[in-house]
């Protein structure tokens, strides 16, 4: 029981982290209809920028400075890159963001090298917040949960309760009408892209110290973020939240409970062959849940796309 609670908290941290990325991504998608392949690269840039700032000014200034920097960079990419490619159609846009992801990874390696950065949790948060049945929960995890929830509430407030949010929502469905009313829709798009990438930057800043800051961090998380918004339904903020938490918990539980295929198969009454070494399906018998934890999201996504192509909460076919 206690272990379940610990896993719930761990899964929540992973899920909320995913959500910070998928929220921006899904918002950008619903506005411009383009899946930003480079979204996780902005997350990586957030971590690297924050590390560089923290070397001189400490962790907290990093948390403050890095996300706006990433956001400005994202807005520039939208203004001078994406807007140009937009005229060629959606597929070139997707290819452009894919190329951008490659380029950002190379640029990061060019500046910071291939090694992991010594980006660490700040001293002030480096203690155990509380313990459940001998499993200690570090204060940093509590801090991560706090930040992500705060951002989610702020985002929800801005989108549903403010004038800017109203314009954004209107521009989602009727961009031409909004433009006719005198609003600068391209500027709104640029702003949304900037804010979305800045959110990814925040995720990078707070995830960098725990998930380690290295040039491969974008690739590790990148595809999972895609999977998340596809499962949640492209363009749905609530869907992104539910799917993020779902994936966070699935991965955490699969990793911490060692469920073996052998037990399942014998459980449903299949006899284990005496000699496995020559059998072609020997791997089926030896598979354990921690082994397949990382591919479960992909499996889920393929199933969702086959049976419910618009995702859990999606309203429209992508």
């Amino acid at each position: 029981m206690d272990l379940i609670l610990v896993n719930l908290i761990d899964g929540l941290v992973t899920g909320l982290l995913l959500f910070m990325l998928s929220a921006g991504l899904t918002l950008i998608f619903s506005m411009m209809g383009v899946l930003n392949f480079a979204h996780a690269s902005f997350y990586m840039l957030g971590a690297y920028f924050a590390y560089q700032v923290s070397v001189y000014l400490g962790f907290w200034m990093g948390l403050l400075i890095a996300p706006p920097l990433v956001g400005v960079l994202g807005a520039l990419v939208e203004r001078y890159g994406l807007r140009r490619v937009h005229q060629y159609g959606h597929v070139p846009e997707l290819i452009f963001t894919f190329g951008l992801a490659l380029l950002i990874e190379e640029v990061v390696q060019f500046i910071w090298g291939k090694d992991q950065m010594p980006y660490a949790i700040p001293e002030i948060l480096n203690f155990t917040a509380f313990a459940i049945a001998g499993n200690s929960i570090p204060a940093y995890k509590v801090f991560m949960i706090f930040i992500s929830v705060a951002i989610f509430i702020a985002l929800l407030y801005v989108l549903t309760r403010t004038r800017v949010g109203m314009i954004i929502q209107a521009a989602l469905t009727y961009p031409r009408t909004v433009e006719a009313l005198g609003h600068n829709v391209p500027l709104v798009f640029m702003g949304v892209f900037g804010v979305g990438t800045a959110l990814a930057g925040v995720a990078g800043v707070i995830a960098g110290p725990v998930l380690s800051t290295f040039p491969g961090m974008a690739v590790v998380l990148g595809s999972i973020v895609f999977v998340t918004i596809v499962i949640g339904g492209l363009g749905s903020l609530w869907g992104a939240l539910v799917a993020s938490l779902l994936i966070g918990w699935i991965i955490t539980f699969a990793k911490s409970y060692n469920i073996r295929m052998e037990d399942i198969l014998t459980g449903i009454g299949i006899e284990k062959p005496a000699d496995l070494s020559e059998s072609l399906i020997r791997d089926l018998w030896t598979v354990t849940s921690p082994q397949i934890a990382d591919i479960l999201p992909y499996l889920l996504m393929v199933l969702i796309l086959v049976f419910r192509p618009y995702g859990l909460f999606g309203k429209r076919d992508a």
Partner: protein
């Protein structure tokens, strides 16, 4: 009179014409003669790699260019075909079956096609973003499986075989690189020809129609989904053939042949070459392989250059290299290509200087940041200098800025010349 004109129109162009067959004959001759011109082993290795990449890129372009389907997991089909071929190689060796090596790529193709049949059954229902996402998911899924299903994929170290098994074919044992080269070249020509002919069949034409306007194609009575499915399966077959060639050439396949990086690389190759024209991916594969093998010897940051080149291509030349070449067809037909020579010289030479300057700046900065402590000497463009002194950096920056500035100044002249070269005589511009 009316009857004759009707007749001439109804006559279909012959399937094989001299003009149509000429490029293929030249290409064949070229492939046969290449080892005579470049007989060294390293050149043969590069050419083999090039040939495999060409087959794979052409197969990929059946999806992207001709079918309008963007796949982020196409390496899977090549990889599975290759893995299967290595297994067959080992199997034939163990049981001494009479299967000659040159036929092996067929099996690679069949298994690539088999997998494409399964995946395509659900992934081709939609094009665009949904297709891209499913291909990404399936690709990641199978790539991740390769570490788990050790019996087939061999886990981390992969599966390896030996191509010199069994009976020699006409006395050839495929011990030497040159024999493998001719085998690869034969399959290259055969599969390229088949893929070209596929693009001329009604189903290949319908693939183009579905790419451009699926709704209208459906109104004409074609199922967009099945048209996509057939292209997908055919593309899976040729990707599998490329996998079989890879297996013969390298005798080992690992997880790296399946993952996203590999799928991304083939997207890059195909797009750089140009997706709009049949020979585009061929150019892309040749240029990419050359860049990869030549540039990677010269500099550590070649992937940075490649990434820049790719992003700039997507932004400014969505037609790729082949698109740039095809742009010159009209001026050539009008006999006005000479108008472009001077403006090209005036823009491209400064641009080249600017690019070299930029490269020098990047190389110097990279050396300052990442060279071992105390190692301040670097060699660039055949000159050796101290990377920490400001003079070389200043020279490089000046070259870069001056080059780009001059190129930018020449650009309006080029645009005007371009316009004139594309306007037929007698038409007021």
């Amino acid at each position: 009179m009316t009857e004759t004109s009707y007749k001439t129109r109804a006559e279909r162009p012959p399937l094989i014409s001299v003009a149509g067959a000429l490029p293929w004959l030249i290409a064949t001759l070229f492939l046969v003669l290449m080892p005579v011109i470049f007989p060294s082993n390293s050149a043969l290795t590069i050419m083999n790699q090039m040939a495999i990449t060409i087959v794979f890129a052409l197969a990929y372009n059946m999806l992207l260019g001709q079918g309008g389907m963007l796949s982020f997991g196409h390496a899977v089909f090549m990889g599975v075909g290759g893995f299967m071929c290595v297994h067959i190689m080992n199997y034939v060796e163990d049981f001494e079956l009479p299967l000659p090596l040159p036929l092996l790529p067929v099996f690679g193709g069949l298994f690539g096609m088999g997998l494409a049949l399964i995946v395509g059954a659900f992934s081709t229902r939609k094009a665009g973003t949904v297709f891209a996402m499913i291909s990404l998911g399936v690709g990641e899924l199978i790539a991740a499986c390769s570490v788990i299903i050790v019996a087939f994929f061999g886990g981390e170290e992969g599966v390896s075989g030996d191509r010199t098994y069994g009976l020699p074919v006409f006395g050839i044992e495929f011990l030497h690189q040159i024999e493998v080269y001719y085998l690869t070249a034969f399959w290259l020509i055969l599969s390229a020809l088949l893929m070209y002919l596929f693009s001329r069949t009604p189903i290949g034409r319908m693939a183009n129609a579905v790419r451009d306007n699926p709704e209208r194609a459906e109104f004409l009575g074609y199922s967009a989904r099945w048209v996509r499915f057939y292209s997908f399966v055919a593309s899976g077959f040729f990707a599998g053939v490329a996998g079989g060639l890879f297996a013969i050439n390298y005798e080992i396949l690992t997880e790296e042949n399946l993952n996203l990086a590999q799928s991304g690389a083939i997207l890059l190759v195909t797009f750089l070459g140009g997706v709009g024209v049949f020979f585009g991916p061929i150019i892309g594969a040749i240029v990419f392989t050359l860049l990869q093998s030549v540039l990677s010897l010269q500099t550590e940051i070649w992937q940075l250059y490649l990434g820049m080149l790719f992003v700039l291509t997507v932004m400014y030349f969505p037609g790729g290299l082949a698109g740039v070449i095809m742009m010159h067809v009209i001026p050539l037909r009008l006999g006005k290509a000479h108008l472009l020579v001077m403006p090209y010289i005036r823009t491209l030479i400064p641009a080249a200087v600017g690019i070299l300057g930029l490269a020098a700046v990047l190389e110097i900065l990279f050396h300052i940041r990442h060279a071992a402590l105390g190692d301040e000497e670097m060699t660039l463009f055949w000159t050796t200098f101290d990377s920490h002194s400001p003079i070389p950096l200043v020279i490089a920056i000046v070259a870069m800025v001056a080059g780009f500035w001059l190129a930018k100044r020449g650009a309006p002249g080029l645009a005007e010349a371009w316009h004139r070269a594309n306007t037929p005589d007698g038409v007021k511009a």
